[in-house]
Symmetry: C2
Subunit: 209 residues, 2 copies
DNA sequence: TATGATCTCCATCATTTGATGGAAACAAAC
DNA sequence: GTTTGTTTCCATCAAATGATGGAGATCATA
């Protein structure tokens, strides 16, 4: 039997999917406690009881949102892995940073929600069990930091987390950071990519540009 | 005339200061909307009206908390700058990472709140005006990424932000990340420092360890 | 001890917010 | 066109939450 989330992902024009889409953005901006069901409903243009009809209680909708964005992120990582496969490491990193940054700039709520997941506690809610390790292992293998995806060393996992978090930070912090560097959106994106490459690539390749 | 915050910082045993201290931790864990005045009051062991008597409305207390942790962070950065002054760059970075990581592990709410500040929007509240640029310029000069603190190039600012965010991420994400690497707190701290140095130092010094 | 200032708590309010029941609107099947 | 199942909205509730007034407690000082 399909879960509500699976239904929504299969039928992108359904009300369920519309609600999910808006919920991603609102939860992404304001976090779980900062978001009210009324805010989401208003965004969709429906009554809150319609929202509850489709998704049940707020916590369930939030959980679906988290699983949803994690699935999107996973899919993108697999796609990128396919593209960079076989190239030399510096190129792989260069391309992966470009592609992931572009993707996340198009879907900033993903970065927002990932960071909320890491840093913010949610009152009274059990932690949602998303298998980040899966991502991490995949990236680690793709960067040839380990042989197999089983038993990735802790040190390597932290390195991968550092990479992902660097990217997420610049996406989620755009509002704040862009003021500081006084750049237009496009210039900011370009500079972020440069900065990420400047910092991340030398450590793993031994070469500065 | 002294602001409430200045009073609290000068009299660490006052009720104002006690409330501020607990408020830091609670706001740091749950964010602005995830925190209720009752939670803070209970933590201090007082009635909420006592809290309101000392700090006024919730938003004002939160703003004081933000300014407070930014001041702590600024002081620490100045202290570290004094210690590393005059040494060669790789040593400066090595020591600075050690000192800042230790400091933030002792005060994780600082990292939490800094990240909330960057990534989370607060419903209906105007953005608090804290001069991050000041930090950033100081660090940039200390790393010799620029001559003076005036007119620090955007590229350099982003580099400094990347450094600071990497550290904050590992502190704030401890709960989440530590599970993934299955380490005790002390081992986690040690591995985080290694990872930060591994990633950050080569970019700025051209040398891998 | 009397006086005034400061501080703390109890009781309470108004609003917001999560959540639901039931009536109406709509759609599909026969 | 009636019946049946689905979807949507209106009205409403109970609990949580931000906020305050005022009575009492505490404390310094004359």
């Amino acid at each position: 039997m399909a879960t509500p989330l699976e239904k929504a992902r299969k039928a992108p024009n359904s009300m369920k999917a519309k609600i999910l889409k808006k919920a991603r953005r609102v939860f992404g901006e304001y976090g779980f406690h900062g978001t009210t069901t009324r805010m989401i409903a208003q965004e969709v243009g429906i009554d809150i009881s319609t929202l509850y009809y489709h998704w049940g209680e707020k916590g369930d909708l939030y959980e679906s949102v988290i699983v949803d964005i994690n699935e999107d992120l996973r899919q993108k990582l697999v796609e990128v892995e396919g593209i960079i496969h076989g190239r030399p490491l510096p190129d792989r990193m260069d391309i992966a940073i470009d592609l992931m940054t572009d993707f996340l700039f198009r879907h900033p709520e993903i970065s927002n929600l990932v960071l909320f997941q890491y840093f913010g506690k949610t009152r009274g809610k059990k932690l949602i069990n998303v298998e980040i390790p899966e991502f991490v292992s995949g990236i680690a293998r793709s960067m040839e930091l380990c042989r197999s995806t089983d038993d990735v060393p802790g040190r390597v996992r932290l390195q991968v987390l550092a990479i992902m978090n660097s990217i997420h930070s610049f996406i989620s912090g755009e509002h704040f950071f862009r003021k500081m560097v006084e750049l237009e959106k496009n210039d900011y994106m370009a500079e972020v990519k440069k900065t990420l490459k400047f910092i991340l690539i030398p450590a793993f390749t031994g070469k500065n540009k």
